[in-house]
């Protein structure tokens, strides 16, 4: 059985857990715990370790989805999770510009290891005051070749679209 891995990362409350829950075939393995620091202001429970979801591609192939912990003090987990990943989704809470710097830090972290294929998903596009994907591209100073996609992590079609766009980027770098 071959397994491949995609990583879903982003700042606290970007919607990583919801994103994986929406698409995973299994009940997501999540280590939600009551928030103990300033994240308490944002959500009552936050991911302190990771989320894990799974999609069976066939009898011999499985796609694993890992959600990274959001808080800085779990940075060490990111390195472990990034090992051997096929691609990366960076989720951004489009309604909270105060998380954009943290998002840049996360992108910088993952890109410092290797040129991993990635897309940015502008989550919570259904909310008032959501910054549009193009505004997010400018705010995060992302180059034009990086895809910034509208996303609602609670909507299956929206999550599928983000993953398919990421797979399109991966495909361009793959070999025959």
């Amino acid at each position: 059985m071959q397994t491949v891995k995609m990583v879903i990362s982003g700042a606290v409350n970007a919607g990583k857990t919801e994103f994986i829950k929406t698409i995973s075939e299994i009940e997501v393995v999540s280590t939600e715990r009551p928030a103990t620091d300033d994240t308490r202001l944002i959500k009552k429970e936050t991911t302190v370790a990771m989320d894990f979801g799974r999609i069976a591609i066939g009898d011999d192939l499985v796609l694993h989805l890992f959600g990274t912990p959001g808080q800085k003090r779990f940075d060490f987990m990111w390195e472990i999770l990034s090992e051997g990943m096929l691609g990366l989704v960076i989720l951004v809470d489009s309604t909270r510009p105060e998380t954009f710097r943290e998002t840049n830090r996360i992108i910088d972290f993952f890109m410092s290891y290797r040129e991993t294929p990635y897309v940015v998903a502008a989550n919570k596009q259904d909310r008032p005051n959501a910054w549009s994907p193009e505004e997010l591209r400018l705010a995060l100073r992302l180059p034009s070749h990086i895809k910034v996609l509208p996303c609602m992590a609670t909507d299956r079609e929206s999550v599928k679209n983000v993953l398919l766009e990421l797979l399109d980027v991966i495909m361009q770098r793959s070999e025959d």
Partner: protein
């Protein structure tokens, strides 16, 4: 929908960059305590700035600065009432009450100082209203102002590491020009020290190396590069890690790329979900 936030989290220079690159038209309202300022942009360029405590017609401003008499101001105001869709600034030029260049110089100086004062705000709510236009009697510059120049001057007034470190975490970062930086430098006047750093940017040297070669402090080099970065002239990247070597001395090969057939299978599966 307006863009809202706090400049504590998304700085004024970041917002000016967004307005410039996004060719935005509208008004950026900034407020803290009882202070309130509004910056109006047209296609990414600044056209005027007003403060709550100094929100006066262009004629009042020019009278105050000795560039217009009260009689001339009244004449312009009266003429303006009969002209729809024309700014009071344009009426002043059309009536030859002040030269276009002189009006530009006076208003630009006034507006620039209003904007520079905002760079000292460490926090404050912002709200960008797309498409919002200034009152036609406001001190609207005849020639809109490119924001790169404002960003550079604003950043010159930053004297704290904290904000700089958001973008430049350490001095081991390498500075490189973005594509076509020359085009973007047209609206920017560099000071001597800034030229010294600018001339050392080669895509290879770290900030620490630039500081050593120019004899400047690391803080000064980082502050100057932060300005270039914020104005969209350069990028800072981590110094590439050395390629791991095998015991034989040959470089370690890159990880094998994933097969197209495998990616196709995943795509088909997700499409079918």
């Amino acid at each position: 929908m307006p863009l809202v936030g706090n400049i504590r989290d998304f700085g004024l220079s970041d917002f000016l960059y967004l307005v410039d690159r996004g060719y935005k038209t509208g008004c950026l309202h900034l407020s803290r305590a009882d202070e309130m300022s509004s910056l109006y942009f047209d296609k990414g360029k600044l056209i005027t700035a007003t403060r709550k405590d100094d929100n006066v017609p262009v004629t009042d401003l020019l009278v105050r600065k000795g560039k217009l008499t009260a009689v001339q101001a009244a004449q312009a105001a009266q003429a303006h009432q009969s002209q729809n869709g024309v700014t009071l600034s344009q009426v002043l030029i059309n009536l030859d009450l002040i030269g276009r260049d002189e009006l530009q110089r006076v208003l630009q100086q006034h507006i620039e100082e209003s904007v520079y004062a905002l760079f000292s705000w460490n926090e404050g709510e912002f709200r960008f209203e797309q498409g919002q236009r200034p009152d036609p009697t406001a001190p609207i510059m005849p020639t809109p102002l490119a924001v790169e120049h404002l960003i550079m001057e604003g950043v010159r007034r930053i004297d704290e590491w904290g904000r700089i470190k958001d973008r430049i975490p350490n001095t081991d970062m390498v500075v490189k020009f973005i594509e076509q930086p020359i085009e973007r430098t047209k609206g920017i006047n560099l000071a001597a020290d800034e030229w010294r750093v600018f001339a050392r940017i080669n895509g290879k040297d770290t900030l620490a190396e630039i500081a050593r070669k120019t004899g400047m402090s690391e803080f000064d080099v980082c502050r100057i590069v932060y300005g270039f970065l914020t104005a969209g002239l350069v990028d800072v990247i981590r110094k590439p890690a050395p390629v791991p070597m095998l015991a034989t001395g040959r470089p370690l090969a890159e990880a094998p790329r994933v097969k197209k057939s495998l990616v196709t299978r995943i795509i088909n599966r997700i499409r079918g979900m």
